[in-house]
């Protein structure tokens, strides 16, 4: 599903170029659940944001399904992202001024889903994640675990084929963390969603099918 060849990410600094990622070659097949691990500053999140098409300043080749991402323009990359990718953040990153239901509706509105259809999808999603009772609450009125649940729901509401998660349980206590990881396993096994997560926890990594290790921006074990 994803193929990276000779991918590098360099930040030009005053002191000289800084290689956040160096010559990454990586393949992730459809239906895989991959965990990226490594010490802080090893380039895990950078790699995840490149996979999520948030970052376009990299060098090398990136193939998403049959599409050569490195050949795409800005607009086409944005379309590819909207159609296929969902993203989960460690700090949840819900929009504070919007209710739970409105937060779920936002990605759909960016995908030009008609309003009525959006509302139906949001209702289904609320139901599926058992958060119907929270629909009109604001993020500040939810616990961390509940917020991350909404974050996962938001990432999945547009039915992406690839789910990227940046330390999704980093801000949660262990029970809540397990709950989220169980949810990931279920999504991967039952719904066939390809998942790539960044994690520091070997326990969470064990939920996945493969671990990719990074150190100093280089792939050290695949």
């Amino acid at each position: 599903m994803l193929t990276l060849r000779h991918l590098s990410r360099v930040y030009p600094l005053k002191s000289g170029p800084y290689f956040a990622l160096r010559n990454i070659n990586l393949e992730i097949k459809e239906g895989e659940f991959v965990s990226i691990m490594g010490p802080s500053g090893s380039g895990k999140s950078t790699l995840l944001h490149i996979l999520g098409l948030h970052d376009s300043e990299w060098e090398g080749e990136y193939q998403f399904a049959d599409t050569d991402v490195h050949r795409l323009g800005k607009s086409a990359r944005a379309d590819l992202q909207k159609k296929n990718i969902g993203f989960i953040f460690q700090a949840y990153h819900l929009i504070d001024d919007l209710t739970v239901a409105e937060n779920l509706e936002v990605p759909l509105s960016y995908r030009n889903v008609p309003r009525k259809e959006r509302q139906a999808i949001v209702c289904d999603t609320l139901d599926r994640f058992h958060i119907v009772g929270k629909r009109d609450l604001f993020p500040s009125q939810l616990s961390g675990g509940q917020q991350q649940l909404v974050g996962v729901a938001r990432a999945l509401v547009a039915h992406p084929t690839l789910l990227l998660a940046d330390e999704p349980t980093g801000n949660l206590h262990s029970d809540q963390g397990h709950e989220i990881m169980e949810l990931f396993r279920k999504l991967n096994r039952e719904d066939g969603v390809t998942i790539v997560q960044v994690t520091h926890s070997i326990e969470n990594a064990d939920y996945g099918s493969r671990i990719v290790r990074l150190a100093d921006g280089m792939l050290v074990n695949n």
């Binding site: 948030h54 970052d55 909207k82 969902g86 990153h93 001024d97 936002v106 960016y110 500040s140 938001r154």
Partner: protein, 843 residues
């Protein structure tokens, strides 16, 4: 408190951008208010009579039973009224005239008041140097040549410390300077004064040749009614209570009546006007309204600036929520927090006020320069004291305090009530849990919307005045000023007799006609768009009579002409003919030319050509000869302010010439450059023919029309309101930009999230710009209603533009809408460039 001040100074120094923006906004707004207050205070509020001003009144006389038949007083009448009476504790007299100061090339005309010795006493004035006139100097016919200078004339003469006792040549006679007046003494109104005061005793000396009306009548002549009287009422009397005593006083006039057939007269007193020198009672109601309007609109500018500042303070308050929470957590009461914020506000306001005071003093100095320049062409001196004094500084401090309360109190109240737990946990972004609707109407958004609505009213007002100024430029004067040169001559300064003056002016006319490039030349005693008027009353022989059986008169501007006057000026001769050369030189010629409006007025049912008219003023022998109408010319303007051109009558030059004349030359080349360059050549030619030529000024006619007081007034209105509108526009746009920029900066995280979950730049642009556009539309809708109300209030002050002019209304709305949307677009555009990775990593 001192600690608050120290902390406020440190905090403001740490945010130089915010401080500079706040101080500049306040300086502009407080400066405008301070400057306008200085003008309104000096012109409308401050007494211009030093001692018990409420007792000083003007005295007028009218024929009994006639509503508006006012005239001035004779010297004998003044004497009769001056005797002890139970109305006036003191009574003084003044005659308005002008004299030539200096000689030869340096001669200059100055407006002069001829006054008696009581005049200064009544005004409670003291000389800045020297003394006032004595009773002996004031006595009719005394001819003791002494003069008191205005401060303006003293300055123009070099501010000499030894001016007292020095000689001064006036109308060719040597006078001795005996006093100099303080700068702010006007002797008649709050704004302008004469350049010179002379005692009544020299009246016959300086006006013998200039008074065309009375043909050289002397002051003592009982039929010479030239004195305006001003009196100080007995203590306890008011103009209203004095009225009951006036009939008994008026009976004294019967004893000195010059014409036994003239009926008894009545007297009327009126407080001194602030803006005019009246020879008959007239109200000044409109100008007070203008003052209120100026102050109100300046207040709106201050309000806009305060809304702007309040917004910035709210934003800063939000950003400092954690600081206030910490302060509360360690024991600060709400009052302590409010005091801290108010101190910060007051420091800003005082800094803005100090800068504003400088700006307003500078702007008012410019205004005074402009007025002084205008008045110098009118030969008056300005006495308006606009320099900052204790009153102005006090008012400015008041504006600062008001501004502080307006912009700092509400934000201080709001942000001084922090929810400690929420604030300490907050991630520093916009308040949580706010819905779209309440976000749209959040306090900061409301403040900026109010700014836009108010700014629209000021921009609209500015537009109305600007359109008025543009309209003034399109008003046809009724003549063609292009290619015109005008030399102002005053032969009365040479102390010649009338035939000699006529002969010299004719010689100047001939000399001008020989000038290369001169097409046509003429002489006239009155200049269209000039500073002076000369009005005469005229009746049709065999025309309508009033209820008292006397002929009905029509007033018109009186001009004595010679040469090819109408062709030189470009006024069409509609019917009949001009004057012949013989008529022009004959002081007894019985012919007259009327303009079409005067002709229609006197002869509404028939052609005036060939008919006869009579002037109301008798000749020196008491006769009122009939004059034949030999020509009818097109109407033409004397200024731009009047709705219609004035009525005019023209007589042969010799019949109306008394020394002062305007020499008109129409040049072949009318382009501005060529016309300007022909001015020095004409000056040299005229001087070479007559080295003692009393040439007061030589200008192009387009320049004279342009510098007319009407244009100045219209332009000044446009400048005043333009400044208001400009500041309001800048502040409002800065407000929109500030609020939107702040929103973008505070919502970067949200933008990052939105972009990370699929928003494209256009979605983000729509999010921010859409709200800006909706808010702009709503505020401009409200602003339109306000603008219409302001237009209604301004209607009496507007020049040739409807108070609801759709073009101005549309233009102002479009301008503000464009500026506001642009101000919202720039931060919105910046929002689209937020890098989601950077925004989210910053957490």
């Amino acid at each position: 408190m001192l600690q608050d001040l120290r902390f406020a100074l440190r905090l403001l120094a740490r945010a130089p951008g915010f401080t500079a923006l706040a101080v500049c906004s306040l300086a502009a707004a407080i400066g405008v208010n301070s400057g306008i207050f200085a003008i309104v205070d000096a012109a409308f509020l401050r007494p211009f009579i030093a001692h018990r001003p409420e007792e000083v009144v003007n005295l007028f006389t009218a024929r009994q039973g006639a509503a508006r038949d006012f005239r001035q007083f004779s010297y004998a009448e003044f004497g009769a009224l001056q005797q002890a009476n139970d109305v006036f504790a003191d009574l003084g007299a003044v005659e308005y005239t002008s004299v030539g100061v200096g000689l030869g090339e340096t001669v200059r005309r100055s407006i002069t008041f001829l006054v008696d010795d009581g005049y200064f006493r009544i005004h409670g004035a003291m000389p800045a140097q020297g003394r006032f006139f004595t009773a002996e100097e004031s006595r009719a016919g005394a001819a003791i040549p002494v003069a008191v200078l205005s401060d303006a004339l003293w300055r123009r003469l070099g501010r000499r410390s030894d001016i007292i006792g020095s000689p001064l040549r006036l109308n060719g006679h040597l006078f001795t300077v005996v006093g100099v007046m303080p700068r702010t003494f006007s002797g008649g109104n709050a704004v302008v004064g004469p350049e010179l005061w002379l005692p009544l005793g020299v009246r016959n000396l300086v006006t013998a040749f200039t008074d065309s009306r009375a043909s050289g009548q002397r002051l003592e002549d009982p039929r010479s009614f030239e004195l305006n009287l001003v009196g100080r009422l007995h203590p306890g009397l008011t103009p209203e209570t004095a009225a009951a005593h006036l009939p008994a006083l008026a009976a004294r006039l019967d004893s000195v009546r010059a014409d036994p057939a003239a009926g008894p007269r009545s007297l009327l007193v009126q407080p001194l006007p602030r803006f005019s020198l009246n020879t008959e009672p007239s109200p000044e109601s409109g100008v007070g309204r203008f003052a209120v309007l100026l102050l109100a609109l300046a207040g709106v500018v201050l309000l806009i600036a305060c809304l702007n500042l309040a917004n910035l303070m709210l934003a800063r308050g939000t950003a400092r929520a954690r600081e206030f929470a910490v302060r509360s957590a360690v024991g600060a009461t709400r009052w302590i927090l409010i005091r801290q914020l108010l101190t910060e506000g007051l420091v800003l306001a005082l800094a803005g006020g100090a800068l504003g005071l400088l700006v307003s003093a500078w702007a008012n100095a410019l205004l005074i320069d402009s007025v002084a320049q205008l008045l110098s062409t009118l030969h008056f001196a300005i006495v308006l004291p606009l320099e900052p004094d204790l009153r102005i500084v006090g008012a400015t401090f008041g504006f600062c305090t008001l501004a502080t309360l307006l912009f700092a109190l509400v934000p201080a109240w709001r942000v001084s009530k922090p929810d400690v737990t929420v604030a300490l946990k907050a991630q520093g972004d916009e308040a949580h849990g706010r819905r779209t609707f309440s976000g749209f109407f959040a306090p900061r958004q409301l403040l900026v919307m109010a700014q836009l609505a108010l700014a629209l009213t000021l921009v609209f007002s500015a537009g109305l005045f600007l359109r008025g100024a543009l309209a003034a430029r399109t008003v046809s004067p009724g003549f063609d000023p292009r290619g015109g040169l005008v030399a102002e001559l005053d032969y009365s300064l040479l102390a010649l007799d009338r035939p000699a003056m006529r002969q010299r002016s004719r010689a100047a006319l001939d000399q001008a006609g020989r000038q290369p490039g001169a097409q046509r030349v003429a002489l006239a005693t009155l200049l269209p768009f000039g500073a002076l008027n000369d009005t005469r009353a005229l009746s049709a022989v065999g025309g309508a009579v009033g209820q008292d059986g006397k002929p009905q008169f029509a007033n018109g501007l009186f001009t004595a002409i010679a040469g090819d006057y109408f062709a030189t000026l470009g006024v069409p001769l509609l019917r009949g003919r001009g004057f012949t050369a013989a008529e022009e030189d004959d002081p007894a010629a019985r012919v007259v030319i009327l303009d079409e409006t005067m002709a229609r007025r006197l002869f509404p049912d028939r052609d005036a050509l060939g008919e006869h008219v009579q002037l109301s003023t008798p000749e020196s022998d008491g006769s009122r000869p009939e004059l034949e109408v030999v020509g009818i010319v097109a109407a033409h303007r004397h200024d731009i302010l009047a709705a219609e051109p004035p009525r005019r009558l023209f007589v042969p030059f010799a019949r109306g010439f008394a020394g002062g004349a305007f020499l008109h030359v129409r040049m072949q080349r009318s382009d501005a450059g060529a016309l300007e360059s022909s001015v020095p050549a004409l000056r040299v030619a005229l001087r070479s023919a007559d080295p003692n030529l009393p040439l007061l000024a030589l200008r192009t006619l387009p320049d004279i029309v342009e510098s007319n007081v009407g244009f100045w007034v219209v332009r000044l209105g446009a400048i005043f309101f333009g400044v208001f509108g400009g500041i309001a526009l800048v502040l409002a746009v800065a407000g929109v930009y500030g609020v939107k920029s702040y929103a973008v900066a505070r919502r970067e995280r949200e933008i990052g999230i939105r972009m990370a979950i699929g928003a494209r730049p256009a979605d983000v642009l729509r999010l921010f710009l859409g709200q800006g556009i909706r808010q702009t539309a709503l505020s401009l809708g409200v602003g339109l209603l306000l603008a219409v109300a302001v237009g209604h209030a301004l209607s009496a002050l507007l020049y040739r533009v409807s108070p609801f002019d759709p073009f101005v209304l549309g233009g102002a709305t479009a301008l503000l809408a464009t500026a506001a949307v642009l101000a919202a677009w720039i931060p919105a555009r910046r929002a689209t460039r937020v890098d989601p990775i950077v925004a989210l990593r910053a957490e």
